[in-house]
Amino acid sequence: MLGFAQLFASRLVKAAAILIAIVVMNFFLVHAAPGDPAMVMAGEAGAADEKFVAQLREQFGLDRPLYEQLGTYVGKIVQGDLGFSYRQQRPVWDILAERLPATLVLTLTAFLLALAAGVALGTLAAVAVGTWADSAITVLALLAYATPIYWIGLMLSLLFSIQLGWLPAFGYETIGAGYTGLAHVADVAVHLILPVITLALFYMASYARLTRASMLEVRGLDFVKTAKAKGLTQSRIVTRHVLRNAILPVITVAGIQAGQLVGGSILIETVFAWPGIGRLAFEAVLQRDYQVLLGIFLVTSIMVILFNILTDILYGLVDPRIQVSQ
């Protein structure tokens, strides 16, 4: 297990290095952004004069030299302070923290659904290769893969909410309904259905394709021949030998995508008015609230890193070779 701890430690060091790089990149992106937040606020107050703008600049520290600002920025990030949204007049972290749970609920549900359904469908297709079931799954996966996810979302809500009226078209819960306890959970769950399906479809498609291809490849490997030569039943060969090996590349890709899922959720949350950080990102884009945008950028990067570490651990658990060869 020493190897494991070392692996973990080295991953953390690497993650920290990447994070620092991202933070510095963030800073320069903020400064590459045109315009002056103080000016915007002045504009929003309905009138502006020099004095007002100067006061705001001083308040935000925008009148300091660049290196000093970088120092302050990095120092603050280290303390968990992601900066201040001039537009919302609130610390970025407060804004993000408010939105994160909704996003996590959405993405994790979608991810688990996509993984379970994708692997199941891919396995089914690989086992029934060449049959109509295989073709149907392959075609569906290809379609889901090729369709913009925000468009699927729009079409699903057009069908299930606007035409059929079965499911809520947007939102996280029924506003003002004041549900508590189980009723609240059920309410959120109903609102979750469309966004989760939409977000899951694309990823499900890629896992299904990957699982199928990987299964077909593994199926041709020598040890599967060995298993057959032992007279094992088909189902045991598939589950114990083929699937277990075929799942390795799926884990790798899923690990990469789990982090990227948050990016995909920008679109879904926009379509379904889901009050998560994806939606926040959209609002921040519209208002060009760079502080918030970059905060999201940092937080999502951290999530990618966390998922990568998690994947590595999972991979290490599944594949005994990792601990040694690493």
Partner: protein
């Protein structure tokens, strides 16, 4: 008239969520709507912009127009129980607002002195006549803040900013960030039996579609300003449970226009600007882009603002006239039919403005003026406009009821100030216009003022420093059970002291 009943909570929307409710420090639209129930100004205004009592019970103006004396209501208490007095008014207008409120600073800096004659009388002495002065006491223009809390402190950092203390009919009970702001009745309100409502709750609903749904389902009884997107309006106004009004925005009187940088050729040529005006169909903009919200403007002054005069040069859509003017300027179409190329930077304030940009590109393209659209964000836009780094942009300004407060600032050459937004950023300069605005602002005789403003409107409509596009209207939807709401020129931003809910 029905008899009002007491009780009930009005639900409304606040969007976006205001950063603070301390109205003196922040005057964004949502802050005004909520804090207008907590704080009060000395006056409010009816639909015709005639002053009406608020904290001031009565007032007099000296015949020379230099002295304004306000008599305040008795028995007014701050929400913390401390008595309100003339000293609060003096502190607010002569110190607090002068420090933090740019619009109030512009007005009160015209005062020679501001004095409390007694505990309930305040006297403002002006350096020179400024008849628009009486229009400047509405709650967002001059909110009265408690001196006992702010005097001598760093206003912006005062801890009391999170727990606003006003004199208004409602007090802040709870503010759950991201969810709602709950106001409750001020039991100590100085007007007997008022307010009628037990409270007002403002819900934070960031998503536009959810907001219309909330109104549709009766979860909220009022929406205002940009809560609903223009495209939702035609559908929503057919709902049985709500009424639509576009009144109540007379005080702000927004006017949208095509802002043109006169430092760039050929935009400096008024024939070119006229050609632009002829190329554009403003009715189309009103009907198809704003879905019928707003009025087609005639000239520089919004028709609800004082001294508005419709007898000016107007520009009916006529591509032929536009082409003729361009021909006259010697701008002949090239092989692709292009006479000139201009850059247009639509205001980055949402989809409607984007659509407007697309429309303008198309309409101008038809007469041979090729438009390159430039995409910016709010900060970039503000900076580029303020620093004159643009060719054409769309913009809108509030006119605040009086040309001296909200119109002149756009056209007078003394207000060409680089780096400051909402000034004469076009760089337009006409000595006659400067003179007329200056005279009118100091003229006590309303008839003479009207003459001067009429003349300046005629000159401007011919010089066409900007191309006016739309007298904007905001939709206010009210549930039919809500009575007595939105009755003044400041509409939903007013105190709502006499609003009541039918059972």
């Amino acid at each position: 008239q029905e008899t009002p009943v007491r009780g009930g909570v009005l639900n409304s929307i606040v969007q976006p969520e205001p950063p603070t409710l301390m109205l003196g420090l922040n005057q964004q639209g949502p802050t005004q709507t909520v804090a207008g129930k907590i704080y009060q100004g000395l006056l409010t205004y009816d639909r015709k912009l005639t002053p009406m009592p608020s904290l001031a019970e009565s007032w007099t103006v000296s015949p020379d127009g230099l002295t304004y004396t306000f008599k305040l209501y008795q028995n007014v208490k701050w929400h913390d129980g401390k008595p309100f007095s003339a000293a609060d008014v003096v502190f607010s207008t002569s110190k607090f607002l002068m420090e933090v409120h740019p619009r109030a600073r512009a007005v009160f800096s015209r005062c020679e002195s501001i004095k409390a004659l007694d505990d309930h009388t305040v006297e403002f002495k002006l350096k020179e006549p400024f008849p628009a002065f009486i229009q400047a006491f509405e709650v967002s223009s001059a909110p009265i803040v408690p001196a006992h809390i702010y005097e001598g402190s760093d206003y912006r950092a005062n801890p009391a900013n999170t727990t606003p203390i006003g004199t208004g009919p409602f007090k802040l009970k709870e503010w759950v960030k991201g969810s709602h702001i709950q106001l409750v009745r001020n039991e100590d309100y100085y007007k007997k039996d008022l307010p009628y409502l037990d409270g007002i709750t403002f819900r934070v609903i960031p998503d536009a579609a959810s907001r219309s749904l909330a109104l549709e389902s009766g979860q909220v009884q009022q929406t205002q300003y940009s809560d609903l997107e223009p495209f939702e309006v035609p559908r929503m106004k057919t709902l049985p449970n709500v009424t639509l009004t576009t009144e109540g925005y007379e005080f702000v009187a927004p006017m949208a226009w095509l802002e043109i940088n006169h430092r760039v050729k050929p935009l400096d040529d008024k024939r070119f600007r006229k050609a632009i005006a002829y190329a554009i169909d403003r009715k189309f903009i009103r009907d198809k882009i704003w879905f019928g919200l707003g009025r087609v403007p005639t000239g520089p002054v919004n028709s609800v603002v004082k001294f508005y005069d419709p007898k000016v040069t107007t520009y009916e859509p006529s591509p032929d006239k536009a082409k003729a003017l361009l021909d006259e300027m010697g701008l002949k179409p090239d092989a692709k039919g292009v006479r000139a190329t201009v850059k247009l930077m639509p205001m980055p304030y949402g989809e409607t403005w984007t659509r407007l940009g697309e429309y303008l590109k198309q309409a101008l393209g038809k007469v041979g003026v090729a438009v390159v659209l430039e995409s910016t964000d709010a900060a970039g836009w503000a900076q580029r406009v303020a620093n004159w780094d643009y060719e054409i942009t769309t913009n809108f300004l509030y006119q605040y009821g009086d040309p001296a407060l909200g119109v002149a600032r756009t056209y007078i050459s003394s207000n060409i100030r680089k780096g400051v937004l909402f000034t004469n950023t076009m760089g337009y300069s006409n000595p006659k216009v400067d003179e007329l605005f200056d005279q009118a602002s100091r003229e006590n005789d309303p008839a003479k003022r009207q003459e001067q403003y009429s003349e300046v409107q005629r000159i401007l409509s011919d010089d066409l420093p900007v191309v006016w596009l739309l007298e904007m209207e905001f939709p206010t939807f009210l549930d039919k059970r809500v009575k007595n709401a939105n009755t003044t020129a400041i509409g939903v931003n007013d105190t709502y002291e006499s609003v009541w809910l039918a059972k």
